[in-house]
């Protein structure tokens, strides 16, 4: 375990000394919250509840993980390109120690991102008077987002393992776009009928949807009736299905990332 901690510490240090971490993983989510507050300022009350903290924050947290995916893929692909990993392959480090050594700092950064987004949402809700969630539900939201975080870290590990340091950010950016659009963070998917159902088969929207069930967010109004009586996101509608799908994605992608990394390691030593 000492070697895992040592390698994890090195990876965490590499990450926190990279200015991109602060721009992408901390600055960008906060910027998004501020930006949507400005947009809301110019929209009449009640017309765009998707930009209210209760709706927006679960989406922003989900989106911030896609930026973590970019960071993790970059770190691994850079290590591979720089021959740093090659040197470590000749050291007594075992395959599982490599994987844990990468996973731990990514998880630490992801947890910090979640806290920052939730606290920012709380402060924003306090200032705007729209409110956010109580401490209990904030903790529940924190836990609910964990599978999505693991999914994004796994994707980052897969891209970092199989792609080089030039193509891994390019492929990651496709997923960042996908999470922004298909995750429903700022796009009212709930007004798009079958398109929303299709997005429900992807983990991005599942995590946003479940997060909104916890925060008690309201659906985007589609007519006068729903404007007057907003419909709250309800776990009993699709919650169980989405939760099961998200966990299935997590299990599959974690297994794939472990397979990809160990397989690549074996290939590099062949």
């Amino acid at each position: 375990m000492k070697k895992v901690i040592l390698f994890a510490k090195r990876n965490l240090t590499e990450m926190i000394r990279d200015p991109l971490l602060y721009i992408f993983c901390v600055g960008f989510p906060i910027f998004m919250i501020l930006m949507f507050n400005v947009i809301l300022h110019y929209i009449p009350d009640g017309q765009s509840p998707i930009f209210y903290e209760k709706s927006l924050i679960p989406g922003i947290v989900m989106f911030s993980y896609s930026l973590l995916m970019l960071m993790s893929s970059l770190l691994i692909s850079k290590d591979r390109q720089s021959a740093f990993l090659k040197r470590l392959f000749s050291s007594p480090l075992k395959a599982y120690q490599f994987i844990l050594g990468y996973l731990i700092p990514f998880i630490i950064v992801g947890l910090c991102q979640t806290v920052i987004c939730i606290v920012s949402g709380y402060i924003s809700g306090l200032i705007s008077g729209r409110g956010f969630v109580d401490f209990g539900n904030a903790c529940l939201l924190f836990i609910e987002m964990l599978p999505m975080m693991v999914i994004c870290i796994s994707l980052g590990m897969i891209f970092g393992t199989i792609l080089n340091d030039k193509s891994s950010p390019a492929v990651s950016s496709i997923f960042i776009c996908a999470s922004g659009i298909l995750g429903g963070a700022w796009m009212p998917l709930d007004t798009m009928g079958n398109f929303e159902k299709a997005c429900g088969f992807l983990p991005f929207y599942e995590s946003t949807y479940l997060g909104r069930c916890i925060t008690g967010a309201t659906h985007t109004p589609i007519d006068e009736a729903t404007t007057l009586n907003p419909v709250i996101y309800n776990f009993s509608d699709r919650g169980t299905l989405y939760l099961a799908l998200m966990i299935a994605y997590m299990v599959v992608l974690v297994s794939l990332s472990l397979f990809a990394f160990t397989n690549k390691m074996k290939k590099d030593i062949s």
Binding site: K2, K3, L6, F7, R10, T13, E14, R17, D18, S82, A83, F84, K86, R87, L88, F89, S90, S91, P92, L93, D268, I269, S270
Partner: protein
Amino acid sequence: MEIIRVEKLSKNYKALKALDEVSFSIKEGELFGLLGVNGAGKTTLIRILSGLAKKSGGDAVVDGHPLSEIDEIKKIIDISPQETSVAMNLTVKENLFFFESLYGSHDEEYFNKIVDSFSLKEILNKRAKTLSGGWQRRLSIAVALISKPKILFLDEPTLGLDVLIRRELWKIIKSLKGETTIVLTSHYLEEIEALCDRVAILSSGHLLDIGTVEEIKEHAKVNSFEEAFVKIVGGDIK
């Protein structure tokens, strides 16, 4: 006493024979050179001996362990690859500490000895990425030594460095003679001549000659090491 014995070691990359039944041995404390032109099989050989590549045939015994016990071998060796391979966002001190701790516990006295030998004291708190290529290479070799390896593989340690930095690195490598068994690959003849106790000349995966520089000159019946190398390798190419 021999510390490495290579027995009919072969490595094939599909149709290409990178190593073809190479056999020789290296004595403990020796500074052993692997000399050859590009593609001779030098790097392949040390990659196999350090567990970074799998053999296709034959075997090697490193400090009593056959290659099948590579996890045991990894505990007593270290390698400085051709490319500088340090953690760029860590400081010099953090890099040294990281590699030292990977292999065992911190030894302050030895740590300071390496820092002094490589003249790293002034730059201990600088990040590796801010150093020049020569200093990065110096650090790369220092981190390979910090783990107190019994055997150190130096793959083209001075490749791409200017003559002054190369001479400085030679001094450092010379100072390690006797304490650690060093296997050094190079295609710089003057480097091999200046540093190595014995040399193995490889070409196209074959071992063409082995011995001290003087013995190799005698075998080729010429007066200079360069002429001997050209005669031996040129003959093989023909």
